[in-house]
Structure formats: structure tokens, C-alpha cells
């Protein structure tokens, strides 16, 4: 027996996910992080209007539950779910177009940079009245159940959104009717500037599930493997007609509520503490330990992703805005034209 024995590195068996899944999860994490940081940079350069809601730091909570979903499953996301948009497969050029509000954006420039939607991939747009999409998403699950389809809904929201009355009404209904939906609560500790303990008198937001009669579980939201496995299990249950699950992912956003928020309500030590638990770094270490990734491969992947982003940004920056008269469209179906005033 050797005098010094290194701790055994985990093998694929211990991780409990196929190689292909791990590669897919890691790729989407990396792509989300890279794109998100790029958007922040582009916003600071004044290249697009409004503001931008970064999700850097909490990518695992959106990539993990989304990876492996079918195109006809529904994502009911909020404003910080770029990872879900990337992983569900909204074409990158259209994600960029959404942020740039150009003619090739899914909504023709009508809503917000971070309100990604893409019907072909089952992603409808969030409203900024938080938890609103949780209600609609729950309705989608009701629709699937009524039609006896085996589709599922994955609904994302922050811990702050669970204070809303509508959130309660939706999950209450899902509990009564055992709807095929998985609720992902991304507890990043801050609802804009208000800390989680000022949003609810409970430590773990998953405790709320008990009141609705379905399982609730709190997990480390920066562990991509754990998030994916927990969500996949819940999705499987939902698809089998066994009802909803509430999964609380404890995580952290590195930047402000949006890019116009300096986030000076937080302590520097808190941010540094969470950066030690960074989800992408942890995933990389695991992939390398498993022999699925080298530094070189990582660099090559980032280069490829950046190249893809460069191309998308170039396309979108050259793309025109829609004609202002587009403002009159998409109000009603074709049967009811909107009055056009001339001033």
C-alpha cells in the first residue's frame, strides 16, 4: 500500500449521470455564462437600450432543470432565465436580437431585453409582475392535463416572487389537481434590494410546498449535477401524473438586480464567499476530474461560443429596427384592425 493515498476521484458511476448529459450541462453552463457576461459588457458600452438582468452566478438553477426537456414542454420563466432560454434552444441569434430589440427578435422589439420567448421551443414571455408567469405556467399544466398529454411545465421564479398572492393561488391549484409542473425557486438571497428573510418568515422556501400537499426540497443550487438530477426526477414524476414538486435552489447573483443597480446593499464578504462556490468553476473541476475536459478543450469551447456570439451580435447590430408602425400590429387577431391615428 502506498504511503500517501490520494482521495479517490469520483467516477461517472458516483456522479450518476451519463457522460453525454454531463457534457451537455457543462456546455450550456459555459454558454450561458459567456453570453451573459457579454450582454453586460455590451450594455455598459451603450450598445442596447433599457437595462439588463444578469444571471451570472446562478446558471445551474436554470440550465439544470431545462436540460433534457422536450420542445413541446413549456418553460414559464421570469426575467433572469437566460440559462433556460439557451438550454431550451432558442437560437442564439434570436436571444441576442431580443436584447437588441431588432427586427429579427422574437417579439419584433415590443417587450424587454430579458423577456425571451420562442413558441417553437415552448417558451412564452414573462411579465414583469413577478410570479405572473407562475400562474400562467400552472394554467399550461392544467391544459396539458385536460388534454391528457404527457407534457410538463417547468416554472422558474425567485424567492421574492413567492410572497405574491398569485403565486400562492397557482401552486395551491396545482396541489389540488396534481398538475404536471415543477416549480423551481431560485433563492439568490436578494429580491432586488430586500433580503430573503424580509420576504418570508421561513428559512427554506421549499417548506411552502407542505401547505399545498406536494413535495418540497431545498438543494445547493450551485451544484449542477444535483440540480439536474433533482429536477429530472421531479419532471419524471410530473410526466407520470404524480403531481408537482417545489425545488428551492440556494444560489447567488454576483451583480445587481439589473445593470443599473450597484447592489451596495450587500456586503463584499458575502459576494466573495459565494464566488468560492461558483457553479461553473465547480462543474469544470468535476469534468476535469472525470477526464471529460482539459484546459485546452475548455479554451476551445469558449472560443467557439465567443465566435458564435460575435456572429450573432454582428447580425443583430446590422439588423434594422422594425418600422415604428409595427406598434399597431399584434393587438388583435386579423379580424379586428386597430384604429390608426395620424398626428
Amino acid at each position: 500500500m502506498p504511503a500517501t493515498k490520494k482521495a479517490a476521484k469520483p467516477g461517472l458511476k458516483q456522479v450518476g449521470l451519463p457522460e453525454e448529459t454531463l457534457r451537455g450541462l457543462y456546455y450550456n453552463l459555459l454558454k450561458t455564462r459567456t453570453l451573459d457576461e457579454r450582454f453586460r459588457k455590451l450594455f455598459r458600452q451603450g450598445r442596447f437600450a433599457g437595462t439588463y438582468f444578469s444571471a451570472v452566478g446562478q446558471e445551474a438553477t436554470t440550465v439544470g432543470p431545462t436540460y433534457g426537456l422536450r420542445d413541446d414542454d413549456i418553460l414559464a420563466s421570469s426575467h433572469r432565465e437566460i440559462g433556460a432560454a439557451v438550454t431550451k434552444g432558442i437560437p442564439l441569434v434570436n436571444i441576442v436580437a431580443q436584447v437588441y430589440a431588432r427586427a429579427n427578435s422574437p417579439d419584433k422589439g415590443k417587450t424587454h431585453p430579458c423577456h425571451y420567448s420562442w413558441r417553437d421551443k415552448g417558451v412564452f414571455t414573462p411579465a414583469s409582475t413577478l410570479a405572473g408567469q407562475t400562474v400562467v405556467g400552472t394554467g399550461c399544466a392544467m391544459g396539458f392535463k385536460l388534454q391528457k398529454k404527457d407534457n410538463v411545465v417547468v416554472a422558474f421564479f425567485g424567492e421574492g416572487a413567492t410572497a405574491r398572492g398569485g403565486w400562492h393561488e397557482a401552486v395551491n391549484y396545482a396541489g389540488i389537481h396534481k398538475l404536471p409542473i415543477v416549480y423551481i425557486c431560485q433563492n439568490n438571497l436578494w429580491a432586488e434590494s430586500v433580503p430573503a428573510h424580509m420576504q418570508a418568515g421561513i428559512e427554506n422556501f421549499s417548506d411552502r410546498a407542505k401547505a399545498y400537499g406536494f413535495p418540497g426540497i431545498t438543494i445547493d443550487g450551485n451544484d449542477i449535477v444535483l440540480v439536474h438530477k433533482t429536477a429530472a426526477e421531479a419532471i419524471k414524476r410530473a410526466r407520470a401524473g404524480e403531481g408537482p414538486t417545489l425545488i428551492e435552489c440556494k444560489t447567488y447573483r454576483y451583480y445587481g438586480h439589473s445593470e443599473i443597480d450597484p447592489a451596495d446593499y450587500r456586503r463584499e464578504e458575502e459576494i466573495e464567499e459565494w464566488k468560492k462556490k461558483d457553479t461553473v468553476t465547480r462543474a469544470e473541476r468535476m469534468m476535469m476530474d472525470l477526464g471529460l475536459l482539459t484546459d485546452q478543450q475548455r479554451e476551445a469551447m469558449i472560443e467557439d461560443i465567443n465566435h458564435e456570439i460575435d456572429e450573432a451580435v454582428n447580425i443583430c447590430e446590422k439588423e434594422k429596427y422594425v418600422e415604428p408602425e409595427e406598434a399597431y400590429n399584434d393587438v388583435y387577431s386579423k379580424y379586428f384592425p386597430v384604429r390608426r391615428d395620424e398626428y
Partner: protein, 327 residues
């Protein structure tokens, strides 16, 4: 031939549309076993089962917003808000999700759904069971707002709403439920959304109204007729998008107009109709555009004399018509 009441016309429309299209389902409070507070959904549970006639918990947010979701994935929801007074919690879902879904997705998604809302006074319902609040929704393009006054229109418009591609708020005036009865055709029919009805032709003045006020305007017109005054009565039926053409043509013909609505005067539907007439038909007018409305108070009061003081009626309408004619 048997006369069908306003509420039976609603029940028939729901029954026939659920028979016709299996995507149609209903959700609301007490609509199942109980058959609805006013019995509009009576018998539907027995025919279509609890999966398509869903007794919801007391959750107006979910009744509206859940219906939006179901509509997104291919269902045709018909939601019921038991009293218009209770619609406030669902305003977020109606205004932010239902009305805007088509717009904010660039036309990718829409909400083909209907919310039925029981509304209106003159029933002794008090502050929280008598409100008529179509005007809250009137300023929200993207929504279709209907408020029928006859059994024929109630059935035909509800069918159009359920079959359409747009989100509809369908107001049912509870005073009309059992009071209004008429013979309805046996065969399937619909009433087009966006078209007003000329209830009575006339030459001297135009009365524009809807819902219970269409009947009050007809009563006023009948009285005026006896005095040799010929009033044209237009029933808007569709509140949003409203039928400018029919109303404008009538005003061009009579050159005088009185607008009647049950809700508060300030910010009401007739404020917009009146402004549009003043803006576009100034050259045709022989007198100021005038209105008869509910009082500008927080809600319809309960005590019977006060309730009647609040509401427009034939007498008030007649008085205003005479003032306009004397101008």
C-alpha cells in the same frame, strides 16, 4: 314558440359550444354541482364531467391566469368570475398576461379565451354585488369587451367569443338574467363582435347605450315617441372595439346625441364615445354631446331609494333628451 330567458341563452351557448368543440372547458367558483350562483352553468357538470366543468378554489388570480395558460397550450377556456366586484384580484392576469400576450410575443402566442363576468345594479345587491366595471377594461387594447342586452345577443356573442382567436371579457348584466325573454332560432347562430345594433330607428336624436341601459333608453324612446319625438336607439353590444361607424352614421343623421351608461360618468365608456363624436363630427352637431350616467361615487349604494338615485332611468334620460332638443 317557447321564450328563452337571457340566462338560459347563456347556458345554451355554453352547452352547445362544449358539445361542438372538446377544447372548450369551464372554470369558476361554484359552477359545478351548484350550477353557478345564478344557475348559468346548471346541468353542464352532469353532461360534461368535472374535468370540463371545474369548480375552482376561491382564486380569481388563478381562474383568469390559469385560463391564459390553458389557452396557450390549445384549450378554449371559459372562465367565470362570480361577480364583477370580485374581478380585482385577477386584474394583473387580465391586463398583464391575457390582454398583452399576443402583443408582447410579437404575435407568436395568443389567448383564445373568454371570461364571463356577472355585473350590474338594480338588483339590491349592495356595494360588492352590483358594480358594473366594463370601463376598467375599456382602456386596454388587446381585450375584447362584450356586454349584451338581449337573449339573442347573449347567446350569439358568447358563441362568437368562444370561437374567436382573441381574449374576451363577457359581461352579463344580472338584472337581465330572468327579466329578458325572447324566442330564439333553433339553428346555430352567432352575433358578430364589433357591430352595434340599431334597436329603434329615429330622426330627431340618437341615444347610445348598452346592457340594462339599452332597455332604459328604449323605455325613454317609447315615451318620447308619444310626445312626437323620434329617437334612434343604438345598443353598442361590443364595448371594445366599439362600432364607430354605426354610431357616427346615426349622429350624422340626427345631429344630436345622448349617451347613456350605468357606470360612473368620469372615465366611463361614454366619455370616450362622446369625445370621439366631438372630435370627429363637430360640423354635424346641433347641440352639445350629453350623457346620462351613474353617479361619480365609489360604488352603487345599497338602500333602495339611494340605489335608484344612483342609476340612470327612463325619466332621467327623457329629461336630458329634452334639454338637448331645446338647445
Amino acid at each position: 314558440m317557447k321564450k328563452t330567458s337571457f340566462i338560459e341563452a347563456i347556458t345554451q351557448a355554453l352547452y352547445e359550444e362544449m358539445e361542438r368543440d372538446e377544447r372548450v372547458f369551464m372554470i369558476g367558483q361554484d359552477i359545478g354541482v351548484y350550477g353557478g350562483v345564478f344557475k348559468a352553468t346548471k346541468g353542464l357538470l352532469d353532461r360534461f364531467g368535472a374535468e370540463r366543468v371545474i369548480d375552482a378554489p376561491i382564486s380569481e388570480v388563478y381562474i383568469a391566469g390559469g385560463s391564459v395558460g390553458a389557452a396557450l397550450v390549445g384549450c378554449r377556456p371559459v372562465a367565470e368570475i362570480q361577480f364583477a366586484d370580485f374581478i380585482t384580484p385577477s386584474m394583473d392576469q387580465i391586463i398583464q398576461q391575457m390582454a398583452k400576450m399576443r402583443y408582447r410575443t410579437g404575435g407568436q402566442w395568443s389567448c383564445p379565451m373568454t371570461i364571463r363576468v356577472c355585473c350590474g345594479g338594480d338588483v339590491g345587491g349592495g356595494l360588492y354585488h352590483s358594480q358594473i366595471n366594463e370601463q376598467w377594461f375599456f382602456s386596454q387594447p388587446g381585450l375584447i369587451v362584450l356586454l349584451p342586452s338581449t337573449a339573442y345577443d347573449a347567446k350569439g356573442l358568447l358563441k362568437s367569443a368562444i370561437r374567436g382567436e382573441d381574449p374576451v371579457i363577457f359581461f352579463e348584466h344580472k338584472r337581465l338574467y330572468r327579466w329578458i325573454k325572447e324566442e330564439l332560432p333553433d339553428e346555430d347562430f352567432t352575433v358578430p363582435i364589433g357591430k352595434a345594433a340599431i334597436r329603434k330607428e329615429g330622426e330627431d336624436i340618437t341615444l347610445v347605450a348598452y346592457g340594462l341601459m339599452a332597455h332604459r333608453s328604449m323605455e325613454a324612446a317609447a315615451g318620447l315617441e308619444k310626445e312626437g319625438i323620434s329617437a334612434e336607439v343604438i345598443d353598442m353590444r361590443t364595448i371594445l372595439p366599439w362600432d364607430r361607424e354605426t354610431i357616427f352614421e346615426s349622429v350624422k343623421k340626427t345631429s344630436k346625441v345622448v349617451l347613456v351608461q350605468e357606470g360612473t360618468k368620469t372615465g366611463g365608456v361614454m366619455a370616450e364615445v362622446g369625445a370621439a363624436i366631438a372630435e370627429e363630427l363637430f360640423d354635424y352637431l346641433d347641440a352639445p354631446v350629453s350623457r346620462v350616467c351613474g353617479l361619480d361615487v365609489p360604488a352603487i349604494p345599497f338602500a333602495p331609494p339611494m340605489e335608484h338615485f344612483f342609476l340612470p332611468n327612463a325619466e332621467k334620460i327623457t329629461n336630458v333628451v329634452k334639454k338637448v332638443l331645446e338647445y
